[in-house]
């Protein structure tokens, strides 16, 4: 069984990159990933026995980031708080510009596929959707990104 430390060392930075590029917000990504990792640490014996411990952590991180974003949105609405605009350093900024026009779901699927390097089955489990939906979402996103990149086949 892999130790938490070894898994954490390997996966942490990739998870931050995936979530940051999905949301366009590093702060949100760090909050989501750190919270999910701390929960995984508590339950590592059970999590490590799962088919995809990383998938479980992504699922928790995405849900937590979504909750925090909702709360921030509410604060912005009610307390007139400013929510920082996405301000990712290079090359994340360039990637974000490329994918910002995708829907939130498309961005999540693309990032889980190409940054987290997950299989379509794993992505389906993380996002709670079917493999078919993952495939069609990826296909649509690739078509759109292909157009944006000027090359339909390149991704």
């Amino acid at each position: 069984m892999e130790t938490f430390d070894a898994w954490y060392l390997r996966e942490h930075d990739r998870m931050i990159a995936t979530l940051a590029l999905s949301t366009g917000d590093i702060e949100l990504a760090v909050e989501g990933v750190d919270e999910a990792c701390s929960r995984a640490l508590e339950r590592w014996k059970r999590i490590s026995a799962m088919e995809s411990p990383t998938g479980w952590v992504y699922r928790v991180a995405i849900n937590h980031a979504r909750r925090v974003a909702r709360r921030r949105g509410m604060e912005q609405l009610v307390f007139r708080k400013q929510v920082p605009m996405p301000d990712l350093p290079a090359p994340a900024g360039e990637i974000w510009k490329l994918v910002a026009s995708l829907s939130e779901r498309q961005r999540q699927v693309v990032m889980l596929r190409h940054v987290a390097e997950m299989s379509e089955n794993e992505i389906g489990t993380v996002l709670g959707i079917s493999r078919g939906t993952v495939s069609s979402t990826l296909h649509d996103a690739h078509q759109r990104l292909g157009r944006l990149l000027g090359d339909e086949n390149e991704l």
């Binding site: 990159a17 760090v30 990792c37 990637i95 190409h114």
Partner: protein, 399 residues
């Protein structure tokens, strides 16, 4: 490997954020459990109070004494808040960490708002929690409240979670000077759509003033007779953290306590604004030196130099990539410095007079002039007039 994978590999080779140690993760985990336990304890208290309420309605429970006792306790806190001695208000003065009410040019029909003090807030809102206390202290100097018997806690999941306060729902206020029209828009009970259960609706007049003077819809909103408004809390709700109603009630009469500094300091400005609404015989409090000073400050929109700590040098601007906490600290110091500067400003051109000087906030949505997004920067805005022949020579430079 896709192009996207190649591009993003750089983000893994040079991580976007530092990796917390495993010990940090354990600390985070422990904090989460502490928070959960606090929320559970809060829920338990609410269930117990709810049970007492139900048994009281039934009228058959031997514990039916408990609620009247609780209400009697609540009433005592409110009496304490309503009876903050004038000497305490005088001793508190006008602290620099209290925001001033803003003078407005009435631009909504005034028939329904003249002579009316209006409050729009919500029970979940931590900023409303502190503003209610200040309103209670101030309004109690001109009249009296009854039916303030609904204790609440602000949202447990928001900033400054679980602040002790009470609701204005069902409260009555009587005064010979003006009427008080409070509206609590929602409870602190979350609903399924990510918001809170609705409670009351604004009156048409309130809604007009709210839309006109508070277009961004922040809470709480206080409209003092269509002459002054406060948007949001006038002082930081952080002073209420961890305190019970009893603690707050007793701290209000201790001038040096952070609670009194924030709440009584806010009340001093509110009282000064309320004094402008009084027709006929003015209460003696309106002639107190601290209230007269507050009135002057309200008129010019800048706090008196004697009340502002002597921040005489402009703080050094942090680098753009400095942490947000460093920028926030800078923003506080910068505001204090500019307030000090504005309060002591005199035109160097004797032919010119300063009509209005104010310190105004500004926020950028993206990095501008080295200011990162979300940071409040400050500037002095100055309106003046010069005698004929001196126009254009400015207020700062001698002719």
């Amino acid at each position: 490997m896709s192009q996207l994978t190649r591009l993003s590999q750089a983000l893994i080779d040079e991580p976007l954020a530092p990796r917390p140690s495993v010990e940090d993760l354990w600390t985070r985990s422990r904090r989460r459990h502490q928070r959960s336990r606090s929320i559970m304890a809060g829920l338990l208290v609410l269930i117990v109070i709810g049970t007492f309420s139900i048994t009281r309605i039934d009228g058959a429970s031997p514990s039916s004494q408990t609620l009247p006792t609780l209400n009697a306790q609540l009433a005592s806190y409110f009496r304490a808040a309503g009876a903050v001695p004038n000497a305490t208000l005088q001793a508190v003065g006008l602290p620099s960490n209290v925001a001033l009410p803003t003078k407005i040019t009435p631009s909504v029909p005034t028939v329904a708002t003249n002579g009316v003090v209006s409050y729009v807030g919500a029970e979940y809102c931590p900023y409303c929690a502190i503003q209610r206390w200040a309103l209670l202290v101030a309004l109690s100097k001109f009249g009296s409240f009854t039916n303030l018997d609904s204790q609440i806690l602000s949202s447990s999941t928001d900033v400054y979670p679980g602040l002790a306060s009470w609701s204005f729902v069902g409260a009555k206020y009587s005064s010979t000077y003006f009427t008080f029209d409070p509206t609590e828009l929602t409870s602190s009970t979350p609903n399924n759509s990510g918001g809170y259960q609705p409670l009351e609706k604004m009156s048409a007049a309130q809604q007009r003033a709210f839309n006109r003077y508070n277009p961004q819809g922040g809470l709480p909103f206080v409209d003092i007779g269509n002459h002054y408004v406060t948007l949001g809390a006038s002082a930081s709700p952080s002073v209420l953290e961890g305190l019970t109603l009893g603690d707050i009630g007793s701290d209000l009469s201790s001038a040096s306590s952070p609670v009194a500094q924030a709440i009584d300091g806010t009340a001093n400005y509110l009282i000064a604004a309320l004094c402008t609404m009084v027709q006929g015989t003015t209460p003696s409090l309106c002639s107190a030196s601290v209230i007269r000073l507050a009135s002057k400050v309200l008129a010019i929109g800048v706090a008196s130099s004697s009340e502002i700590p002597g921040v005489t040098t402009s703080p050094t601007q942090p680098p753009t990539n400095a942490p947000l906490s460093v920028w926030r600290a800078w923003s506080v110091k910068e505001r204090a410095f500019l307030l000090h500067t504005a309060a002591n400003f005199r035109s160097t051109n004797p032919a010119c007079t300063v009509l209005k000087i104010a310190v105004t906030p500004n926020r950028y949505k993206k990095t501008t002039l080295g200011f990162p997004p979300g940071v409040t920067s400050w500037a002095i805005s100055l309106v003046g007039k010069c005698s004929p022949g001196n126009i254009g020579k400015g207020l700062f430079k001698s002719p």
